[in-house]
Symmetry: C2
DNA sequence: ATGAAAGCGCTAACAG
DNA sequence: CTGTTAGCGCTTTCAT
């Protein structure tokens, strides 16, 4: 195995110099750096490229399939930049961050972010750079990417209001997701309510477990409902079986899921691929010394189907 | 951070003794081991638990969604045993194994196995234990788990022959999958052909890209075909749009995929969850010193739907 | 800007 | 069975 010492000998420099060329933690003259890089290439040295860690709490209500959609995107994006991905299933809040950091990752992609996420202060203080997929209440000093879920929910409301509906319902994620104040769920409801009030539309909000039973209960309890917004990929097919025309339906889910339903459902796209890729881009920039970029929300779009 | 030296001091032993208690690489007296473990607990030492590596080539024809189904299962199973998972996207054959080993994983789960996989000799020689999801031509000295794809394809043929079909077709994975002699594809075709010959059924075999166009071409070229077996998750919906009744169809795919199609398609279940979990079980046993277990094939089952 | 040397946490060879 | 010691590859401090 080619070590940093081999490279140093070959380039006629000290091991520390090679280390500094690789980490960029102190200035090395262009000439020396070039010689080192040349030796690295000719000897085929591979720095045990520290992986990117994905912090993935697998708690109640977290749909692993949905989470894996992001992981997949992160893996693909990391691969382009020659990084492997360490999937760290951490349910222990702030301790999970420490565990991840101790595992020696170059940077962290943090998923399933809560409004007052206990991991946030740790991440802020931490030397290891991170990018959150999701936005906490106070994102200062962090890098966050997410879909603008408030706007996404509002888009659904506007679409239904435009079609003349005056009594609509929201079937959200599982109750556990709200209980821990998950960012996207809370911001979504805020956007939904605000839009409905703005439009003068009556609305009901319900949580929905993956069995989708809440849909039936909802229609029983509220016969006046003529349209439903559902943000729950796990329950989508069950909800579809229950919410039939003439009741209108809009889903918040990835397009490829919406295209597979029967009938094909109108939806606001959750761009998991884009968000995962963007998170890696920002993280790599952070690893290379860039400062935190703050919050970057992507604009939702609605596709009308059947 | 609590180090192994801290634990050693607290327990009144040498650092190496603590190391050996943790790795089990040499015998330590029960008394001493207990004292060490007690110190580990009271000091809160966390051994930077080496991750399990998942070797995942992302080449042409590899459906990342399908691969991620296995990764998901591996992550869930590893989590139960307090291990994180390093997803290593390695397209470089044998070099990929070395890269994975150098990254310091405790063991490897190897996916997308080819008949004469160049990684196999390396894995056999390698000190890091591994479990393959898939079976190469010569699995001696390895641990392999997989669905018995030969039996799975044969099951489809028997089902269709029993229904009276005399001209059937196989739509397999993408051509690239055959070109690199991927294990499951090659064993599948073998099982398919053998079963068809046994049953005296005429058959055609075609590769199928993810666009599913091969389905249309197949039916144009072979008007005599009355039933199709498709083993291609990416192309399944496109194939379904084309292969309509009265032509019979059986898919080889996970049940949850088959249940979502419209109409719901008869299928042989690919138990990705079970295989991923089993792979981790076997790998953990290997890490704890068990010898290679050879090949473990799971028995396919067919579910008849619409 | 660079090198020498000490140190990191851990494992493995050696000694008894 | 266990402690001593030398190493592993790499980073960081200290010096110049």
């Amino acid at each position: 195995m080619v070590t940093i010492a081999d490279v140093a000998r070959h380039a006629g420099v000290a091991p520390s110099t090679v280390s500094y060329v690789l980490t960029g933690k102190r200035a090395i003259s262009g000439e020396t750096a070039d010689r080192v890089r040349e030796s690295i290439r000719s000897l085929g040295y591979r720095q045990r490229a520290a992986a990117i860690g994905v912090l993935l709490p697998l708690r109640d209500g977290v749909n692993v399939a949905v989470a894996m959609r992001f992981v997949r995107a992160v893996v693909a994006a990391a691969r382009v930049r020659d990084r492997d991905v360490l999937v760290i299933s951490a349910d222990e809040g702030a301790d999970g961050v420490l565990r991840a950091v101790e595992s020696g990752v170059a940077g962290l992609v943090v998923m399933d972010v809560e409004m007052d996420d206990p991991r946030v202060p740790v991440l802020r203080a931490c030397a290891v750079p991170s990018v959150l997929i999701g936005v906490p209440t106070d994102p200062c000093g962090l890098s966050c990417v997410d879909l603008d879920f408030a706007a996404a929910y509002a888009l659904c409301v506007d679409h239904l209001a435009d079609k003349g509906h005056t009594d609509i319902a929201l079937l959200g994620p599982a109750r556990a997701v709200y209980e821990r104040r998950t960012g996207y769920a809370e911001r979504g409801v805020a956007g939904f309510s605000a839009a409905a009030l703005r439009r003068g539309v009556n609305f009901v909000v319900r949580t929905c477990e993956s069995d989708g039973l809440a849909a039936k209960q909802l229609l029983t309890d509220h016969a006046e409902i003529t349209a439903v917004v559902v943000h729950n990929e796990a329950a989508l097919s069950a909800v579809l079986a229950c919410v039939q025309p003439p009741i209108d339906l809009v889903a918040i889910c990835p397009d490829e899921v919406a295209r597979r339903t029967e009938p094909k459902v109108s939806s606001v796209h959750v761009p998991a691929e884009d968000l995962g890729r963007r998170a890696v881009e920002l993280l790599m920039a952070r690893i290379d010394g860039a400062p935190p970029q703050g919050v970057e929300l992507s604009v939702p779009t609605l596709t009308v189907r059947d």
